[in-house]
Amino acid sequence: MTTLTRQDLNFGQVVADILCEFLEVAIHLILYVREVYPSGIFQKRKKYNVPVQMSCHPELNQYIQDTLHCIKPLIEKNDAEKVVVVIMDKEHHPVERFVFEISQPTLLSLTGISDTLLSHVEQLLRAFILKISVCDAVLNNNPPGCSFTVLVHTREAATRNMEKVQVIKDFPWIVADEQEVHMQEPRLIPLKTMTSDIVKMQLYVEERAQKT
C-alpha cells in the first residue's frame, strides 16, 4: 500500500492500483471458492496479511492480469461503474455474477484523507476477502464444467480509453452479448459494502434460480 504524501498528486493512479490488486485477488478467490477450476492449481499466498488462494497456472494468471491491465485506465478516470465476474455453464448461460460496484468520490483532495497509510482500507478489503471465502453458504452449487469471464460496465463511451492499451497488449475486448449480460430469474444476494475516503465499493452476487 502506498503512502499518500502531498507530492503524490496522481491520486487516480494510486486508487486504480489498489483496486486492481484487490480485484486480482478477488477473482482468484472466486475461482477457488466456486470451484470453477480444480483446487489443485491453487496455492496459498498472503495478501493484506491473511492467507488467500491464488492460482499457479501461468496462462490463467496472465489472462487475469491482462484483463485488469486493460481495466485500470478506466478506473483511473473513474469510468468503470461495475466490474463483473460472470460464471457461465457449458452452454455459456450465466449462472452467477459477482458484481463489484465501484465509485470514487469526485472531489478528491489529499487533505481530506485521514487514513494516509491506508490501513483502514486494508482492513476493509480484508473483510471483502473473508466474505468471498464464506459465500458458499448463501449460494447454491454450480453445475460442473463452468467457465468464467469478466465484464466491465462503463459510464458513457469510455472504451476509447481502453483502445490504446488493447493495441499495445494485443488483448482485445469486445462488446458483450445480451446473453452474457442478462440472466434469467436472478436472485440478488448482497455480500459486502465498504465506504472509505478513497473509494466506495459494493459486492453482490446475482444468482440464477435454477442452475442445472
Binding site: Y32, G40, Q43, R45, P51, Q53, R126
Partner: protein, 437 residues
C-alpha cells in the same frame, strides 16, 4: 448466564454469515475463552436439536499420538466429519472443544485465521486477557533489559548457540518461534551476519543429495532455535500466519516421505509440539497459538507457502528431496557420457593443433573489361588450424552443458568443463566442414 448469548451467536452465524470462532467470540462478548467454548457448544447443540439447520463446525483436538514408537503431542483443528476418525487415532485425547461455527463448509482453513486477525489486532496488548493460559514468570522486559539482551546477541551469537535460549529472556521465548518461520527457512540462507555460521552448518548438513533424515532434522530443529536470535522485540507478535508454522517441520517431514495426508499433517504438528514441550513454561503460551495451527493441506505437494518470490529457490536448496536428487544424478551421468564419447574421437585425431590446407568457397570481387563490378565465387585453398575452429564452435557448445549446470556438485562442474573442452575438439572436425560455405 442468560440466554441472550444464544441469540447473539445466532445473529452472527445466520444473519451476518460470519465464521464465529471461540476466540473471536470471547473478545467480542468480553468473556473468558472457556465460557466462549461452552457457549458455542450449547449453541450448536441447541440448533441441531431444534432444526436441521445447516451448520458446520470445526474442533480443536489435542492429545498424544504415537508414531513408530515416538510419542508426540499434537494439536489440530479438524472438521467435524474428521473428528471421530482423528480421535480414534490418538492414544490419549487431552482436550476437544469447538473451535468455530459457521454456515458455510470451509474448503480451506485460511478464513479461520482471517476471522481472528482483526479482533486480535485491536486487542493486541490484551488479547490474552480472557485466555486460560497463564505463565507467572512471563513478564515483559523493560527497555533497559531489552537493550542489554540485544547487545549480547550481537556480540556473542557464534559462541553461545545452545545457551542462547536462556540468555534471551522469557518474553522473547514466549514469542512464537514459528512467527519467524519464513525467516527460519530464509534464515538458513539469510544475509544476517549473525546467522552466517549457523547457515553454513545447516547448509552443509542439508546439501548432500543423499539426505539422512536424522541429520536434517536437527538442522531444521536448530533453525527455530536460531530464530530466537532474530527475536529482538518484546511486544506480542502479530498473529502468526497459520500456515507458516508447519513449514520447518513440514520440510523435514518431506524428507521422511510420510505416506498419508493426515499422517503428514499430524507429524507436522507433532514435530512442532515436541520442540515446544522442551521449553516448560513457554510451551503453555505457545500452545494457545498452536491451537490455531492448520490441520489440512489441500494438496500434498504444496508444502511450501510462497510468501515472497525468493523462498522458492532457497526452499529447494534446503529441501533436497528426491526429484532433485534424481536430477542431479541424471545430470551427472550425461556430462560423463559426453566426456567419454568425446574422448574417443579425440584419440582418433592426429592430435594437437596441426595446420592443414583445405579448399574453401570464397567470393572475389573485381572490375571486368566493361567496367562492371563482378563478384565471382570460386574454390580457393586456404590454410587453417584447429585452434580457430575451437573458438568459433565453443560459442555453440555452452547450450548443451547448461542443463547439467543446475546441480551444484563440484565434481559435476569439473566434468562439465571437461565435456566443454572435449566438445570443442570433437566438433571442430565436423563444424569446420560446414563453417565456411
Amino acid at each position: 448466564m442468560d440466554e441472550l448469548y444464544l441469540d447473539n451467536i445466532d445473529e452472527y452465524v445466520n444473519d451476518h454469515n460470519k465464521i464465529v470462532t471461540y476466540k473471536w467470540l470471547s473478545l467480542t462478548l468480553g468473556v473468558h475463552v472457556n465460557t466462549a467454548k461452552q457457549m458455542l457448544y450449547h449453541y450448536l447443540d441447541h440448533k441441531r436439536k431444534e432444526s436441521g439447520a445447516q451448520l458446520h463446525a470445526t474442533y480443536l483436538v489435542s492429545g498424544k499420538f504415537v508414531d513408530n514408537g515416538q510419542t508426540s503431542h499434537k494439536v489440530s483443528v479438524v472438521r467435524e466429519e474428521q473428528l471421530e476418525d482423528f480421535k480414534s487415532k490418538m492414544n490419549l485425547v487431552v482436550s476437544v472443544h469447538v473451535y468455530s461455527v459457521q454456515k458455510a463448509l470451509l474448503k480451506d482453513s485460511g478464513p479461520l485465521y482471517s476471522v481472528d486477525y482483526d479482533a486480535v489486532r485491536e486487542n493486541l496488548k490484551t488479547c490474552s486477557r480472557y485466555s486460560a493460559i497463564r505463565c507467572p514468570s512471563a513478564v515483559p522486559m523493560s527497555s533497559l533489559e531489552l537493550q542489554q539482551v540485544r547487545e549480547q546477541q550481537q556480540i556473542s551469537t557464534s559462541h553461545h548457540e545452545n545457551k542462547k535460549p536462556t540468555t534471551n529472556g522469557d518474553t522473547s521465548l514466549t514469542s512464537k518461534p514459528s512467527t519467524k518461520a519464513p525467516k527460519g527457512i530464509m534464515g538458513m540462507f539469510s544475509n544476517k551476519p549473525a546467522q552466517k555460521n549457523h547457515d553454513g552448518s545447516a547448509e552443509v548438513k542439508a546439501d548432500p543429495p543423499v539426505v539422512d533424515a536424522p541429520k536434517s532434522k536437527p538442522a531444521a530443529k536448530a533453525n527455530p532455535m536460531m530464530n530466537f536470535f532474530g527475536n529482538q522485540t518484546t511486544k506480542k507478535p502479530d498473529k502468526p500466519v497459520k500456515e507458516e508454522e508447519p513449514i520447518p517441520p513440514a520440510s523435514t517431514k518431506q524428507q521422511q516421505h510420510s505416506s498419508s495426508k493426515t499422517a503428514e499433517k499430524q507429524e507436522a504438528a507433532a514435530v512442532e509440539s515436541p520442540k515446544d514441550v522442551k521449553a516448560d513454561s513457554r510451551s503453555k503460551t505457545k500452545r494457545i497459538q498452536d491451537s490455531d495451527s492448520e490441520e489440512e493441506r489441500m494438496e500434498k505437494k504444496k508444502r511450501r507457502r510462497i510468501k515472497r518470490p525468493e523462498p522458492d529457490s532457497s526452499d529447494e536448496d534446503v529441501i533436497p528431496d528426491s526429484p532433485q536428487q534424481t536430477d542431479t544424478r541424471q545430470a551427472s551421468k550425461s556430462p560423463e557420457k559426453e566426456a567419454e564419447s568425446a574422448a574417443r574421437p579425440q584419440q582418433d585425431c592426429t592430435g594437437g593443433k596441426v595446420r592443414k590446407r583445405r579448399r574453401v568457397l570464397k567470393s572475389r570481387t573485381f572490375v571486368d573489361d566493361e567496367g562492371c563490378i563482378v563478384t565471382e565465387k570460386g574454390y580457393e585453398s586456404e590454410s587453417y588450424s584447429e585452434a580457430e575452429d575451437d573458438v568459433q564452435t565453443s560459442k555453440q557448445t555452452p547450450k548443451a552443458p547448461t542443463p547439467p549446470k543446475v546441480s551444484n556438485k563440484e565434481e559435476e562442474k569439473k566434468s562439465q568443463k571437461k565435456s566443454n573442452a572435449s566438445k570443442g575438439t570433437k566438433q571442430a572436425s565436423i563444424m569446420g566442414f560446414f563453417q565456411k560455405k
